[in-house]
């Protein structure tokens, strides 16, 4: 899907909630650059989990209200042990509740879109059947994809930056620009009936 296509398909603005989790952003390079991009976009609500809940005491009601108020839920995080950082998992466990996100009466996220942006330390080559990580990113992100499915959400094509430590400033800047364009496209409402990539 090219950027131009998405633009032309748009029909007005969609509200985007970008939930960001990085426990030590001061030591990060890639996520620092990417989060800055998201933070500076006016159309996006930037929500920093580790900054809001350094003590892990999540305000469930406030978080659910936040989810309800947006059309697109975007998750940005560095991949740790093939999963999200601990606080984002905690956030999912506590906020995406039965009766709210799924199950009986759990239709509050129905029809929203779920988008994942993550960074990995290992290079793209590692995320391959014969690479040292043996599985593809698509496979590693299956739990989140299934989360979207169970909640009746549309699974957006993930945005992945591999080999974060291998990138120089220029490489990171380029990735940041791609990311910005992806986020812009998320703020557009897609045409009804548009085919969604799984």
């Amino acid at each position: 899907m090219s950027k131009a296509d998405t633009m032309s398909q748009s029909e007005g603005e969609a509200s985007v909630l970008l939930v960001f989790a990085h426990p030590a952003l001061e030591r990060s390079r890639a996520n620092l650059v990417l989060s800055k991009v998201a933070e500076e976009m006016e159309a996006i609500t930037f929500h920093d989990l580790y900054e809001t809940y350094p003590d892990y005491v999540i305000d469930v009601e406030a978080e659910q209200a936040r989810l309800l108020a947006h059309d697109v839920i975007a998750l940005q995080f560095p991949m740790y042990w093939y999963s999200t950082p601990a606080l984002m998992k905690e956030w999912l466990d506590l906020v995406w509740l039965h009766g709210f996100a799924y199950g009986k009466g759990g239709d509050k996220l129905l029809g929203k879109r779920l988008f994942v942006a993550c960074t990995t330390g290992g290079p793209a080559e590692a995320y391959h059947k014969r690479g040292y990580n043996r599985f593809t990113m698509e496979e590693f992100l299956r739990p989140l994809e299934q989360t979207a499915h169970l909640c009746g959400m549309t699974w957006e094509n993930p945005f992945v930056v591999h080999g974060a430590p291998l990138k120089d400033e220029k490489g990171l800047a380029m990735k940041a620009e791609f990311y910005r364009q992806r986020l812009v496209s998320l703020t557009q409402v897609p045409k009804p009936g548009r085919k969604v990539k799984a």
Binding site: A24, Y50, G121, P123
Partner: protein, 638 residues
């Protein structure tokens, strides 16, 4: 002044002040008594190092004016308004009742009733300077005692104004016009005007002080502050005080009262603190001088010729003033403790008595012999005040320690068997207590602050009055079946005592205690507490987190820094526990604390490296990835 040069005079005053005040402080007598003794020693009746006191006295009285200005700065108009009942009720009652009581006593001793009434009115005044200075040194200025005393003193200062008008009416013989009458009775510029014009002038003066204070002083100070002229700021601050004093004298009001008013007007300005710090030293020095001059006026020959009569007058005066003040405070609803403290504090004669006595002699109300006796008596009563306050404190402490019988009956515990007994429900006990209640535990609370209890009761919390160190009360509260005792008293010694006793009496109960500091914490653990919490530790740590965040740390990093520090500190606490016991035996307490602090700081530096190798530290892994990428020929941009 004397023929001595100004420098020699200053030398005498200053050295007498420095030596005797330091000595008095060392002996625990307070600075006021030190100054008074210094004055007595250098005065005309002892060493006679200084001569005529009248000039110095006038200069020194300005210290009282500055004192009132500073007090005014602390009293916002709203506070003054809220004190109106104390000022006019308690204050008015004190002046009238004391005056009549003294007058009655004086009549019984054979004085003419008019003279007796004049004496009563003059002696009803107390010494603002001595009372406030003494209360300040004892740290009592702010509480119930300080408020009551201050309210009464304020009304006494107010009543000086009508007294100048009223006292001449009590004349028994033809007035003798003297300097004193000129200075105080007819000294004002407007005394020749008709009464309604005088009233108008007084109102105009008050309005001027308020108006200028409100609208002119702030821009002026702002301008001076911007110009950064430090000494001009001080000079203008003094100028305000002197100006107000002069204006008040012109219309016949008390300068001290005017200064107080000016202070109140400026209490809400942003320059309040600056004014305070700038003027404070003048207050200290001039008040010191004032006390010295009072000391120097104590007529030693008179004391020596009529020692018993004088002593009788002084003791009679102080007993009478104490009794009246104590009774009035009790009627006003004060506790025994507060009423007696206010009574003791206000039992002396005041500095206005000196002025008024001179004035009444001139007006032919009191004859000179009686006046000089009373002057000596007032000066001595002032000198006795610091001593009586010390005596009061001793007695209060003794009562605290020895009188067990509580004024309030033992509580009845009606809420059934509690899970937890909380001893002490102040700032500390409340938080833990509320949290435990919120989590469904039943608690019984004991506290010995009756005001606190009444407040909490109004919010429907079952708090009982009682000294939790009494085992029978704990037993009545259900300590035998309760699972836990939380000791949250704010008294170190009592906490230790209670922990030790409760451990022996109730072997199965879990005892948690609030510790004052590290030393106290070790002490409590050694005496049977199952766990302790140093009362300021968590709060201080939380402030540290806020500090780190304000300095630019991300929230999570600051949080973890505190988490690490807490763990590190608790480990150190455990490690130093055995060492503590050993040093305790042979080291002085201060040395001991310093030694511990050294060990703590060393441990902090060693263990708390700012960037410890904790989670998400990826530099090592990143290095591996880069090496591998080179070997395998991976592309960086993939």
């Amino acid at each position: 002044m004397h023929a001595q040069s100004f420098l020699i005079q200053a030398l005498v005053y200053l050295s007498a002040g420095v030596v005797s005040v330091v000595a008095a402080k060392r002996l625990g007598l307070g600075s006021v008594l030190g100054y008074l003794i210094a004055g007595l020693i250098i005065g005309p009746y002892a060493l006679s190092l200084v001569g005529e006191q009248a000039d110095v006295m006038k200069f020194a009285e300005f210290g009282v004016v500055i004192l009132l200005f500073l007090i005014g700065l602390e009293v916002r108009p709203a506070l003054l308004w809220s004190m109106r009942k104390t000022i006019f009720g308690l204050g008015g009652a004190q002046v009238l009742a004391t005056a009549f009581a003294i007058a009655a006593a004086a009549t019984l001793l054979g004085l003419d009733w008019r003279t007796a009434l004049a004496v009563g009115l003059v002696l009803a005044m107390s010494s603002t300077a001595i009372v406030l200075q003494t209360l300040d040194e004892k740290g009592l200025r702010q509480g119930a005692i300080g408020r009551a005393a201050f309210g009464v003193l304020l009304l006494q200062d107010l009543s000086v104004i009508p007294l100048f008008a009223l006292l001449p009416l009590l004349a028994t013989h033809a007035p003798v016009v003297t300097g004193a009458v000129q200075a105080h009775g007819t000294g004002s510029l407007i005394s020749s005007l008709p009464a309604w014009l005088q009233t108008l002038a007084v109102l105009a003066a008050v309005a001027t002080v308020i108006g200028v204070g409100r609208f002119a002083v702030r821009p002026m100070f702002r301008f001076i502050a911007q110009a950064r002229l430090r000494e001009i700021f001080t000079a203008s601050a003094l100028l305000i005080v002197v100006g107000v004093a002069a204006l008040m004298q012109m219309v016949g009001l008390s300068a001290a009262l005017g200064a107080f008013l000016a202070g109140v007007v400026l209490a809400e300005s942003e320059f309040r603190r600056e004014l305070e710090t700038d003027i404070e030293p003048f207050r200290g020095l001039l008040l010191g001088l004032f006390f010295i001059t009072v000391g120097a006026q104590i007529d030693v020959p008179l004391i020596l010729t009529q020692p018993l009569l004088l002593l009788g007058v002084v003791l009679g005066l102080m007993t009478l003033k104490f009794t009246v003040m104590f009774s009035l405070a009790k009627i006003g609803g004060a506790s025994n403790r507060v009423a007696s403290a206010v009574g003791v504090a206000l039992a002396q004669g005041g500095e206005f008595a000196f002025v008024l006595l001179a004035f009444t002699v001139g007006a032919g109300v009191i004859d000179p012999k009686l006046a000089s006796l009373l002057t000596a008596a007032v000066a001595m009563s002032m000198a006795f005040t610091p001593l009586t306050v010390i005596a009061y404190e001793r007695i209060a402490r003794w009562l605290d320690a020895h009188v067990v019988a509580p004024a309030i009956p033992d509580p009845v515990f009606e809420e059934g068997e509690p899970d937890i007994i909380i001893a002490g429900f102040g700032r500390f006990g409340q938080i833990a207590g509320r949290m435990l209640t919120a989590n469904g535990f039943r608690s019984t609370v004991l506290d010995s602050d009756i005001e606190q209890i009444e407040l909490l009761r109004r919010f429907g919390r079952p708090v009982h009055y009682g000294d939790a160190t009494r085992l029978d009360l704990l037993r009545a509260a259900g300590a035998e079946k309760a699972r836990m005792l939380i000791v949250a008293l704010d008294d170190q010694a009592k906490t230790s005592e209670l922990v030790e006793r409760a451990r022996k009496a109730f072997p199965n109960i879990i005892i948690l205690a609030r510790a004052f500091d590290r030393r106290h914490a070790y002490d409590l653990l050694a005496n049977g507490a199952d766990a302790v919490e140093r009362e300021t530790f968590e709060a201080s740590l939380a402030l540290g987190v806020t500090a780190l965040r304000k300095l630019g740390f991300r929230a999570h990093r600051a949080q973890r820094a505190a988490d690490f520090f807490r763990r590190h500190d608790r480990r150190t606490f455990e490690e130093l526990r055995p060492i503590w016991g050993q040093t305790e035996a042979y080291m002085l307490a201060s040395r001991d604390a310093q030694d511990t602090m050294n060990k703590l700081l060393a441990a902090d530096l060693e263990r708390m490296k700012p960037e410890g190798a904790d989670g998400w530290e990826t530099s090592g892994r990143d290095e591996d990835i880069r090496e591998e990428a080179e070997r395998e020929g991976w592309e960086s941009g993939a």
